[in-house]
């Protein structure tokens, strides 16, 4: 099934119209010396057969786990209307809106999305999207490097470690120095950052809440950075922004983040949604598509892609970024989600997440051997120290139907016993209670097991 409409008879007729006798003649420019050495692919199949094949694969994944995993992407509820509206063919089978007369739907939706992001972050202008939260940080760094003409970036270790790894991969061939600043009890280490930010620093990257879930008000840090001419990039969790002081209110220059939690499914890693917003001063340095509102020839309100002269299709090697295809449909979904959940709803989602996480903390505190890290306030994610390797314990919980959180050992040296637990509005009191009980049980058995093998690990 190749979805080709033309019948063999029509193809013959068309070949004649082209003045050739066979389709092979149309490929005569391909020299015989580079003919495929192989093209052994399975034969095509019917829709039913293919659907069955993928259903079988899908069934090998889904284990009805109760998800307490976060680490930057979260299991939030998605209202049904998001799927219904985003699956309209007029939206999802369109290309980038180059012809405004045929794309007012996409263009207006992006304009509204930009506005929603601005209102959530308190910034002046947002772009139409980046690939994900990590690439958004990288693009923000490029903006800062170009704007300040400096070459050093300071990164708080509370920034998502996966994003930090991405940043270093992308810049391996460039002359950019990175300085990582360790956290203090899981929070931003202000003195260290202050010592590190000299007048060669283009930007400082912070995250709120940070990877450990710790919430902060970075206003003082931003002020110190600005004194030294450095910009501040803050990566934020958009759901938390319904509650927390947004970057625009504390002087952040570029706000970025992962927008998956706004109406996009987890989908094993993507597609996700990088969002980016900045202030008026830097808007022309911002990469990616931007939609503007203007008037048409008859004075009617109209929307267009604007500031395109910065982009790769015009500016080529001097463009602000190479991004072309972005995550438009994910941005559309985020905009639909925010429209449906709305002003009070978003506040409630954030409050629910926070309250349930605090409840989880209270339950974990009673489990022998478990220590909840409580030096700093957190939003909906927090770290617990377990009496043994968090990866091993997590494995036992997975076997009991719970994805208990992210073991931190892979990303933070010396944190092998730490687990990062996330709670969203979808988790019930009963699920949290069950998690606590199973954890207690697993740990109890773990001790039995360990005692048998007399390898008791220090608590």
């Amino acid at each position: 099934m190749s979805f080709v409409a033309n019948t063999p008879a029509q193809r013959e007729e068309m070949l004649r119209a082209c003045g050739v006798s066979s389709v092979d003649e149309l490929f005569a420019d391909i020299p015989a010396s580079v003919a495929p050495k192989s093209f052994r692919l399975p034969p095509g199949a019917s829709e039913h057969e293919v659907l069955t094949y993928f259903q079988q694969l899908a069934e090998r994944n889904y284990a009805q786990l109760t998800v307490f995993l976060g680490g930057g992407v979260y299991d939030h509820f998605i209202p049904s209307a998001v799927d219904a509206l985003a699956s309209r063919g007029e939206f999802f089978t369109a290309y980038t809106p180059y012809q405004p007369e045929l794309s007012q739907g996409t263009l207006q939706a992006i304009y509204e999305y930009q506005t929603h992001i601005c209102r959530l972050t308190g910034m002046d202008a947002a772009n139409a999207s980046m690939y994900d939260g990590g690439t958004a940080i990288y693009e923000a760094c490029q903006m800062a490097l170009h704007t300040t003409r400096r070459s050093r970036i300071v990164v708080d270790e509370g920034v998502n470690p996966v994003y930090r790894k991405m940043l270093y991969s992308y810049t391996a061939n460039l002359d950019i120095d990175f300085t990582e600043v360790p956290t203090s009890h899981g929070a931003c280490h202000r003195e260290l950052i202050e010592q590190t930010v000299g007048d060669d620093v283009a930007a400082v990257i912070l995250q709120n809440p940070n990877f450990f879930g710790v919430v902060d008000n970075h206003e003082d840090v931003v002020a110190r950075c600005h004194e030294r001419g450095s910009l501040v990039i803050q990566s934020v969790y958009p759901v938390a922004m319904a509650l927390l002081k947004p970057p625009g209110e504390i002087g952040v220059d570029i706000a970025v983040g992962e927008g998956q939690s706004l109406g996009n499914p987890l989908a094993f890693g993507g597609p996700y949604l990088g969002f980016m917003a900045t202030n008026r001063k830097l808007v022309r340095k911002m990469p990616g598509r931007i939609v503007g509102r203007t008037l048409d020839r008859e004075g009617r309100e109209a929307f267009v892609l604007t500031l395109q002269a910065r982009e790769q299709h015009i500016r080529r090697e001097k463009a602000t970024s190479n991004i072309c295809t972005n995550e438009a449909l994910c941005a559309l979904r985020a905009h639909m989600y925010l429209s449906l959940v709305g002003k009070e709803g978003m506040r409630e989602v954030a409050q629910l997440c926070h309250a349930k996480a605090e409840y989880a903390k209270s339950r974990f505190k009673t489990i022998p051997g478990v220590r909840v890290m409580e030096t700093n306030p957190t939003f909906n994610e927090f770290t617990v120290r377990l009496p043994a390797d968090a990866g091993v314990i997590a494995g036992r919980l997975v076997e009991r139907g719970i994805a208990p959180g992210l073991p931190l050992g892979r990303y933070y040296q010396g944190m092998e016993n730490y687990l990062l637990v996330a709670v969203t509005e979808k988790r019930t009191k009963a699920e949290i209670g069950n998690f606590a009980e199973v954890l207690e049980e697993v740990l109890a058995h773990y001790w039995d097991f360990e005692e048998e093998h007399s390898e008791r690990i220090e608590v």
């Binding site: 002269a309 910065r310 015009i314 001097k318």
Partner: protein, 123 residues
């Protein structure tokens, strides 16, 4: 037709002596090619450039072009009016549409640029 009271670079800038400073703008030809100018990025004051260095960007809807220093020197003034009214370049490319002033490193460098007639012959 380019104006005779100034010199021209192959990269389409004009340079005009103003006391011991050099005023720099873009040529009428460049302005026409770009079309409606929507934004001018001015260089920072005090920037020291060599001839041929980038010292600004001029954007229209369909293109963006770098402004190159026609002679070496220090940027001592920029036309801030362009920040709010970039269309000044379209409206009055020779006077109100100037972009920046340079204090030249070598006052004689301007003589090496093209005359109006030579420049017009290249475009």
């Amino acid at each position: 037709m380019s104006q005779d009271d100034r010199k021209y670079a192959t990269s389409h800038e004009w340079a005009k002596q103003d006391g011991d400073l050099i005023v720099v703008g873009i040529s009428d030809h460049a302005q026409q090619e770009l079309g409606d100018i929507t934004f001018v990025e001015l260089p920072p004051m005090g920037q020291v450039v060599e001839a041929g260095d980038e010292c600004g960007v001029i954007e229209s809807v369909k293109a963006a072009t770098d402004l190159y220093a026609p002679v070496g020197g220090e940027v001592v003034a920029v036309n801030e009016a362009l920040e709010v009214s970039p269309e000044l370049i379209n409206q009055d490319v020779w006077e109100a549409g100037w972009v920046l002033k340079l204090k030249p490193s070598n006052p004689g460098d301007i003589d090496a640029l093209m005359s109006a007639a030579d420049y017009d012959a290249t475009v």
